[in-house]
Symmetry: C2
Subunit: 382 residues, 2 copies
Amino acid sequence: MTVTPHDRDAVTFSPPAGVARCAVLGTGLIGGSVAASLGALGIEVVGWDRDERCVARALELGVVGSVAASLGEAVAGADVVFVAVPVGATAEVAIAALDAEPGSVVTDVGSVKGAVVDAVEAARPGAAGRFVGGHPMAGSEQDGVDGSRADLFAGATWVLTPTEGTDATAFATLRSLVAAFGAEAIALSPHDHDVFVATMSHVPQLASSVLMDTALGVSARHGTLLRLAAGGFRDMTRIAAGNASIWPDILTANRDAVLASFDRYLAELAEVRAMVAAGDRVGLLAMLQRARQGRRSLPIGAASAGPLVELRVLVPDRPGVLSEITTLAGRLSVNVFDLEFAHSLEGDRGVMVLVVSDTEASVEYEVGLRDLGYPVTRGKLE
Amino acid sequence: MTVTPHDRDAVTFSPPAGVARCAVLGTGLIGGSVAASLGALGIEVVGWDRDERCVARALELGVVGSVAASLGEAVAGADVVFVAVPVGATAEVAIAALDAEPGSVVTDVGSVKGAVVDAVEAARPGAAGRFVGGHPMAGSEQDGVDGSRADLFAGATWVLTPTEGTDATAFATLRSLVAAFGAEAIALSPHDHDVFVATMSHVPQLASSVLMDTALGVSARHGTLLRLAAGGFRDMTRIAAGNASIWPDILTANRDAVLASFDRYLAELAEVRAMVAAGDRVGLLAMLQRARQGRRSLPIGAASAGPLVELRVLVPDRPGVLSEITTLAGRLSVNVFDLEFAHSLEGDRGVMVLVVSDTEASVEYEVGLRDLGYPVTRGKLE
């Protein structure tokens, strides 16, 4: 499938060929929303959850088409399996799904990737090519299946974490499915993903909850404190109101990256504390202005399409290529709108066709691909 | 003026008697919004700013009725003067206003109160009774007079900080004016105010800016980081996009309270960091759940009126009484809807009439007033 701008919308919002039936294991907020998104594309969805009441509620709400009595029953005949259980149980459930349905592509939706991907690859080196770690960067303050929405992922970023062993077809199937949900798929290595979410999500969560908790301590001594909460404090503590029970697992699973990011935060806070103590207005202003500039430059939502360019990359037909090429795009912030992997007739070489935004970053990307030893040809899409 | 529920709306949204002309010194976002709010009440507003272009723009936008060439000209004949200059210049400008118009009530809108109130009282012990510190807890990401809005304070909390020396009539005038802007006036001691804003505003500002700055540091090493910014990170860094230049002054003026609050925040962050390192899921969950509960209990906006009760407090006619009685209400979270101070014919005693919400806190308040030695009578308003 080669994509031109004419049929890009059709490709983005219809299900990929060969995906007729999916299993969703774990039907909480995210699992329920994945199920609803699949259902909206006309795909058959079988739900399973350790908590029978939860999956029964999902059926009642119409987010799954049917309920399976066991994990094995759920994944039998599934083209794609979404594992949406708590982070601590993800690897175990993903391995069970790989074992139970050898024809399936398996992915997960957890907030931590390194530990899960490593565990699956270590346990099932032969089958791990069919597993691709995933993380939709979307959520809601509401917990549980009742908050499920078919449009939860529209406009969200959905990280996929292919590795050297990832099967290219499995990756392409998931990429298309995620795009059909309206999300922007980007590929990162599991390690890069974990560093990013530690900095952009896990440490901010702790910073928010501790800020709220500190205010409660002061409030206990001065009754009126919380009535003075203005908009800024409300903004900063909004995520502290979210589901607390998911975090101990996530923080434990991503401990190394969280501690590294936490230590950077603490070190800079200590510097700023010293500036306040010393009355260092110049230092304070410099930090505040740097942050202001950074916040104002924060991209809003997914990148719009704009002009596109097609990069055709000649690659050896072996594992590792996919991960190398897609994660370089992620690192350089190159938006990949479509991706096709065409095996050559000879069987030892192939062409990977990438449709990307025609920006300066895409030129950097082209150079980067050449530096990695891949011949690249470039053509504007009309 | 004794208030019954029938005319409460009229009292709240019309200007207090005896306020026909006001001066606004400093016409940035807050000064401009004060001017616009005064104008909307039909009060004559004279503007002055050290930066002539700024006040000229305020005139062009119609937020001030006229522009004065000097501070003295602006305050001549003014019933109330609002000082809305940067925190570092507030005391000096307030003192100049007290000197220039002996008939005026002077207030300010700065984020720090102790340093300003102390400086005015030390410099002008005779006139400081006419000065009441103030702080509207409202703002906007937008800087400057162009962001001015007559409804900026509607529903906001506006702290007033009377002290022992505060003149009761001056306080009552300001209280009515603030209520006429649609804000909820609460009285706190300057020190309590400063502790509160350190915890609810100043430290959160630093926590937000440092979070953004830390992410920039990681982003410089990994190009794609900022594209992954989800809603939680956006919420937590929203205030980092605000006006940076006001903060070095505020942080310096409120240094002691900021350092105390900052140290509480850092100490709890360090505890939580140790929990992550130790994999202490129980400790993490307890903190996160406490914060979640606290955030969910955060009052939304100003308290609604509900049933009211009138407390009549017999007080000696001397300074200090006002501050003692109003700041006790603030500390106990008692919402004072109206306040009147009636001097008795004999001249040495008076009656303070307070209209407050008929809640458990108002009973505590009544008991507290008796403990302070004031006879109180209570009557429901029908």
